[in-house]
Symmetry: D2
Subunit: 366 residues, 4 copies
C-alpha cells in the first residue's frame, strides 16, 4: 500500500514518542525506521521505551517491533532510504546543539530530508523555520539550500520553539489582515512537558511557579522575526518588527502553554470587533489543502471571560488549534489577549507532522 | 498589662482567622472582641471556626473562648469599646460592598476606628489606602475625615488589594529615588488563597491556569494611583502616572502572588546596577520606627536566575517582605523584574496589622 | 430515525453534563429532554450551563437548544413521555436524599423508567444496584418492583458509588472463577471530581491529602454486598461476604479513583498466575452483547511495576475499563493489587449508560 | 564556647542541606566540617549548593564559608577530628549501597562516630536502627560493636526509613502500654521529597498518583521488626511481630507522609477510648531528657474527622511530632487510624539529630 515510509531520530525521547503516537494510523506516513542513542540501539523499540513511554496511547503494533538503530550511523539510514524504508526523517534528537547541527546535516547530505524539532538549525540562514499556516512559502528556499550545499534529495526544515505558538498564529492573522504590529509584550505560563523528561522535578513545581526557563525568552523574542522574514537569494532575512519582550514562567501544568499578550499596532488599528472577526475566520494553506494534521480553524476564539484554559482547551482539534480569548483593549498598547496551544503537539511533534504534510504536497519528498 | 484591646469583624472568615493567628503574642495588641455573621454569633470562637480553621498555627488560648458577637450590632462593639475591650477593629468583613461600606461607617461613627481589609471604602475620597512603607503620610487625612463626618474617635483606614503588593513597593522605591515611572505592564500569577474560602474549586485548578479573576485587573491598574496620590483639602487626589495595564491569572499555588513587570521610566533612567541598589537598600518609616510587624527590609533582592518563587520566598521576614528578582532590561520598556509577596499576610492581615502599628505610633487610637 | 429519546434529570450538574457529553452521537439513545432545578428551568440548556460546563467536549448541537424543564414537575416529563420525547430518564439529581427518593419514585409511578446515579434508592430492597458486568440478572427484579408498587411502565434502577468500581470488578472476576473472597481491606485515593462541583476547595487540595470523605467508607464497605446479593421473592438479599474495611482519602487528582486492595480468599486460593489469567480474560454479558458503551475487556491487566496511574489509565477503553496492576501476594492476606477506574465515566454517567443499554436489550423500555 | 563540632557527609544533597538548616543555632552542635562528592570538593559550601539549596531557611553564616571536602578522603575528616573540628558526622551520603557501607565503616574505624541516614547499615547486626522515643536502649550495643570491630571512638548508628515513621511511634505506644500487635496493614501516601532531588519528575506527578516506590514496601514491612527487636550478645534480634503488609504510593505532596493503618492486637484489646488516651499521653526518654530536637509530645492526637493532613500537620512541633487521627475500629482487624509525619525532618535529618542528642547524653561522643 502506498504510505510513505518515515524514520524518527531520537525516537525514544519524549518528542520522539509523541511522533510515534501521532503517526499511528496516519493516512500518508508510516514509521518504518527508528533511531536513538547507542544505549537503545539494537533493542526492539517496545523494549527501548519500556517504563518510560509517555503518551496515553499505548505503543502498539508494528512500531514496537522495529529494532532501534544508532542515530549516529547515518549510513544505515541512507541504506534504509535506498531500500525504501525511510523517505525522510523527523528529528527529535536530544544531544548537544553542535552535534545535532552536524548530524542533521549529515543526514541531509546522505539524501535523507530532515524535518527537525531541534533548535540547532533554527538560525541557519538557508533553513526555513516553518509554521505551516504562517510561512509555507519559506519552504521554497529548499532548492537554494540544496544547491548551496550540493545536496540532491536531502534538506533540512525546522519548526520554532513551543513557547511562541500560542501567540504567533494570532499575531500573523492580524498582520496578514493588514494590521502590522510594532511591539508585543508576552508573559508565558508554560507547561512542564516543555522541559522534556525527566524535566522539572516535582519538588520544584508543587505549589510553585518558576519565573525563569533558560533560553526561552530569547527564543520567544527572536524566532517570530525569522518566521515573518523575507526570502532572499542568500536565505531568509529577519523581519524588523514586531519588537518583542518576553517573561517566561514554568507553572504546575502538564501540557499547554498559556501566553498573556499585549501588543501595539504599527499602523492602522482594527477595532476589537474586527480583531475577533479576523482571528475567528483565519485560515491558511494547510486548511485549503485539507492536510490530515491541520486543524479546521487554526485559531479558536472563545468569548467566555475565563478561557482559554490548559485543561479545557489544549486538546482542541487534535491539539493543533490555538485557542484565543480575553480579547480586550490594553491600557498601554492596543490589544490584550490570552493564547493557548498544546506544546508537545502543536508546539512539537504535531507541528512537525503538519510541516511534513505540507512539504509532501509541495513535492519535496519525491 | 497595657496591651491595646482590639476587635476583629468577620473573625471567622479566612482573613479574619489570619488576623487571629498573626496577633497571637503581638507585643502591642490583644484580640478581645470577635464579631461575625449572625450564624456564628453566640458561639465560642473556637467552636465557630471548628472544621474551617485555616492557619497552620492552632487557634489556641484566650481567643478561642471569646463569644462571637453579631457584626451587625455596632452598639455592642461600642459598648465593648467603652468598657475597654475594643480600642479599634480590624475589618475582614465578607458581605456585599454596600453593606460593608455602611457598616464600617457605622462603626467609625460609634467611635471605633476601623482598619479595613475590604475594598468597600478604597475609593472613598477621604479614606486613606495605606501601604505603611509607601504612603504613611496619607494617614494625616484622618482629622479631615473625622471633621467632615462629625466623628470624634472613629475613622476608617483601608489597605489595597493583594494583587498589587508584589510590584507596588519596588515601584515606589524607584519613584522615591527620583526615577518616575510612566508606564507599567504587569502579568500576575495569583495564589488561590486570594479567592478566600472555599474559593476556587480544585477541579478548576489541578493541572490548570485560569486567565481571569473578576475585578482584579481594574484594582491592579487603579489602586496604585491612589496610593501614590496627593493629600488635598478635599481628600486624596489620584496620581496621574504610571499608566498600568494588567493581566491577572489564577495558578495552582496556595499562597504567594507572583508579578511579572515591565516598566518605562518617565524621565531619567537608572542603570540596572542602580536599580538593584535602590531596591535592596530601600527602607521607610515602619523600619525607622521598628514596628513589630515591619520586615527588616521591605524588599529582598535575589540574584539567582530562578527566584523569587512562591514556595521559597513567600514567607520571607514574617511573610511581610516583597522579594524581587530577575532584574533585567526590557526590550520594549526600560526594566523587567519579577516580584513576589505573601497575599494573605503582606497582602491582607499582616499589612493591616502593620497599618495599625503605624497609626498607633501616630497617636490615632488615643 | 429510530433512536430512543431519553431525558436527563439534574442535567445542569456535573454528572448530568457528563451524561450529555457521553450521549452525543450515541447509536441508540438521543437526549431530547433535560430537567434541573427551578433556577435553570425555562432557559436554553446551553445558557443554563454557560460558565459551568465541565466536559472537554463542547456542549454543541441540538441538546444546547433544549429548554430546561423543572425537575420537580413530573407531569411534564410524563407528557414528554407520551408525546415520544422521553422513553426513560437518567437521574443525576442533586438534592436531599429524601427528596430524590420520592421524586424518582414519582417519575417511575408516572410511567418513566429511572436509571439513577443517586444514592437515594441504593438500599431500597426491590431496586437493583447494577454493575452491568457483575449482576445484570438483578434487573430481573423489575417485574417484582413494578408489581409491588403498581407501576406499569416505570421502574427504578441504580448504580453503586464510584469508590467501589476500582475493586468491584476484579473482586467479582475472582468470585466468578470459583475463588470466594472472605475479607477485603481497601484504601482509596479518590479524585476531586468525585465530590461534584464546586466540590473540594483548591486551598484544601494543593500539596495535600484529605484522609476523610463523608459517607464513602460506609458505601465502600456495604454496597458490594448488595451487588453480590441474591434475588429473592422480597427483593435482593445482601451477600454475607466479603467483609470489607475501607480507608477513603481525597488526593490532588482530577479524575480517576485508585484503590489499594488486600484480600483473603475464603476457600481455595488461586496462584498469582491464575489470578492474572482470570482478571485479564474476564468478560461478561455486556461484552457478549457488544453493548456500545461496554469496554472490550472490563479489566485491563498491566504488568509494569508502577501502573495503574490516573493520568495514564483512567481513559482506557472509553474510560470504561478498570485497570489493575501490582498483582502480588499479601503478607497478611492472600493477594494485593491496585485498581483504577474513571470515577465520573465508569463510576457515574458511563456506568449508567451501560446499564441502560443492558436494560434496553432486555426489553425493559418497551 | 563549648558547642560540639560536627561534620556532614553528603552535605550538598537534599538531606545534607536539611541537616545544615536544622543545625543552625542548635544549642549543642555546630557544623564545622562538610564533605561531599569530588565534584563539589574544594568549593565554598555556599557556592557548592548555589541554585540547588532547598530549605526555606537561607544558607547563611559560617557554614556557607566552609570549604567542601571530598567525602572519600576519610583521613582528612580524621584530621579534622583530631584538631577538634569534627566530633562525629551525620551521614547523608548518596552513593551505591556498598560504597556507603564501606565508607561509613572507614569513618568509624578512623575514630569518627557516624550517625547515618543511609540504608546501607540498617541490617548490619550490631548497628542499632534508632527512633529515639522507641528503642533508645539499642544504643547500648555500641560497646559490642566497637569491640567486635576493634574501633575505639568510632561507631555507626542508623535511623530507619521515612515511610515507617508515621505509624511506628503509635504502634510502639500501644505495645509499650501492654497491647501487643500481631498484624498491621498499612497504605502510605508519600511525599515527593522522600525521593530526594531531582527525584520524581513533575510530569509524572501532576494530576497523578504513582502506586509504587522501589524498595519502600520491603523497608516498611521489615524495619519495624528490627526497631522492636531485642539486644543479644550477637547483635539485635528481630522481633517476630507484628507481621506487616504495605502498599506504598507516591502522591503530589511536597513534604509529609500519610499512613492509613489497620491493625490487630495479638492479645488483650484496648477500647477506642483507651487507645486515644495511650497515644495522646505517650512520652519517652527524649521528652524526659528534654532533648532540644524532641517534640513535647511525640504523638499529637487530632479529633477532627479530616485530620491529619500534610499541609496542616507536617510541621507540628518543629516537624518532629507524629500526628494521628481518625482513630476508629476496623471491620477486619481491631483498629484503624491515619498517621502523618514530616519525612525529611522527623523521617530524616531531624530524626538523626535527635539520635545524636540522645547519644550525647549517653556519653558516646566523649
Amino acid at each position: 500500500m502506498g504510505k510513505i515510509p518515515v524514520g524518527i531520530l531520537g525516537a525514544t525521547g519524549m518528542v520522539g514518542q509523541q511522533y510515534i503516537a501521532l503517526l499511528e494510523n496516519h493516512p500518508w506516513f508510516e514509521v518504518r525506521y527508528v533511531a536513538a542513542s547507542p544505549r537503545s540501539a539494537g533493542k526492539a523499540y517496545r523494549e527501548a521505551v519500556a517504563g518510560r513511554w509517555h503518551p496515553v496511547k499505548t505503543c502498539s503494533g508494528a512500531v514496537g517491533d522495529l529494532i532501534v538503530e544508532d542515530a549516529n550511523e547515518v549510513s544505515r539510514t541512507a541504506a534504509a532510504g535506498k531500500r525504501g524504508d525511510c523517505a525522510f526523517v523527523f528529528s527529535a534528537l536530544e544531544m548537544g546543539k553542535d552535534e545535532i547541527r552536524s548530524l542533521e546535516a549529515a543526514y541531509a547530505a546522505a539524501g535523507i530530508p530532515v524535518i527537525s524539532n531541534a533548535s540547532a538549525h533554527r538560525w541557519t540562514e538557508d533553513v526555513p523555520m516553518l509554521i505551516a499556516e504562517i510561512n509555507p512559502h519559506h519552504a521554497d528556499i529548499i532548492p537554494l539550500q540544496r544547491a548551496k550545499r550540493g545536496w540532491d534529495r536531502g534538506f533540512i526544515v525546522v519548526k520554532p520553539n513551543c513557547s511562541i505558538q500560542s501567540y504567533m498564529t494570532p499575531l500573523y492573522a492580524l498582520i496578514k489582515a493588514g494590521y502590522g504590529v510594532g511591539r508585543l509584550l508576552v508573559t508565558t505560563l508554560q507547561a512542564v512537558s516543555g522541559a522534556g523528561y525527566p524535566g522539572v522535578p516535582s519538588l520544584d513545581m508543587i505549589d510553585n511557579v518558576i519565573p525563569y526557563i533558560g533560553g526561552e525568552e530569547e527564543k520567544s523574542e527572536e524566532e517570530p522575526l525569522k518566521i515573518l522574514g523575507t526570502l532572499t537569494e542568500r536565505g531568509i532575512e529577519k523581519a524588523a518588527t514586531p519588537r518583542i519582550s518576553a517573561h517566561c514562567n514554568r507553572v504546575p501544568v502538564s501540557d499547554g502553554h498559556t501566553a498573556c499578550v499585549s501588543l501595539e499596532f504599527a499602523g492602522p488599528k482594527p477595532s476589537i470587533g474586527e480583531i475577533k472577526e479576523i482571528l475567528a475566520s483565519f485560515t491558511s494553506l494547510p486548511q485549503e489543502l485539507d492536510l490530515p494534521m491541520a486543524p479546521k480553524r487554526p485559531i479558536i476564539l472563545r468569548e467566555e471571560l475565563d478561557r482559554p484554559q490548559p485543561r479545557t482547551d489544549r486538546d482542541a482539534d487534535k491539539a493543533m488549534a490555538v485557542t484565543v480569548g480575553r480579547i480586550r483593549p490594553c491600557n498601554l498598547f492596543d490589544l490584550r489577549f490570552t493564547g493557548l496551544s498544546h506544546n508537545t503537539v502543536r508546539g512539537a511533534a504535531g507541528g512537525g507532522i503538519l510541516n511534513a504534510e505540507l512539504l509532501k504536497t509541495k513535492g519535496y519528498f519525491s
